[in-house]
Symmetry: C2
Subunit: 159 residues, 2 copies
């Protein structure tokens, strides 16, 4: 047996590997991928409420509380009450959070470069275009990938 793998299999295999490698790299900044994703979400659109962020990331609001708690204890984000509606917190990056985001950006570029090691520049460009088309056709356009919530046992083989 051992048929040649489908593109779907390769995409799952490589995507999983990429996520693991990224996790390994950001761990050196004492961050988990969900924490890095939250920082990124706050950086892209500061000042939103936790509910709004949770809706965008497709994760339960209760999970964000713990994430924000932790990042706030470390001085990377801050909550500030909205005086117009005192139920809401606005979540922002601190100066330290912005500095860390710059480091995460460097890590992400290194990660991308290492992953595409086997491809030449023109091939990388072709790949990027094909992947963008898939992301668009699968409606993954938001820049937040659906794996923010638990993959858990849904990860795994793809035949």
């Amino acid at each position: 047996m051992q048929a040649s793998p489908t593109s779907a299999f390769l995409l799952t295999q490589i995507g999983t590997h990429a996520a693991q490698e990224f996790a390994r790299r950001v761990a050196e900044l004492d961050l988990t991928p969900p924490q890095a994703g939250l920082l990124r979400a706050v950086a892209i659109e500061p000042g939103r409420s936790q509910q709004a962020i949770a809706r965008q990331l497709g994760t339960p609001a209760t999970r964000l509380v713990a994430l924000v708690d932790d990042l706030e204890r470390r001085g990377l984000v801050q909550r500030r009450r909205n005086p117009d509606d005192r139920r809401l917190y606005a979540v922002d990056l601190t100066e330290a959070g912005r500095a860390l985001m710059a480091r995460i950006g460097r890590v992400a570029r290194e990660h991308d470069d290492a992953l595409l090691d086997g491809l030449e520049p023109a091939e990388r460009e072709r790949l990027r275009e094909l992947l963008s088309r898939i992301a668009e056709s699968q409606q993954l356009t938001s820049g937040v990938h659906p794996g923010y919530r638990a993959l858990g046992s849904t990860a795994g083989h793809d035949c």
Copy 2:
């Protein structure tokens, strides 16, 4: 902000989406992705011991016991003692297991086709070639992707 995503990000995003879609499809066969992966591993190389399968999949042997238990209860695989070394079990597919593998194969093809919906045949071929090159350069050649074990919190964002 909102820089255009790197290929690494797109690969993680699409790979996660692909894994979720595959999970959704095999769930209609009452299978989890790890179960489907185990069936596939047994189909490719029948008669191996649980330890050997565990080593290949990079998962603790104790986890395989539960997986094999469940599939055996459902009549999809069978254990048979090795008379030469009575410590070992040989794991094989049953007739029902082989029939189910055929259905899984159909599901995988449908899955692959749906995922590549936005690409024309020539583009699909180019993509497959580029992905194969990445898998090779990242040493993911075995046909078993590294996400067999827990992704858990390592899943998530990729900046």
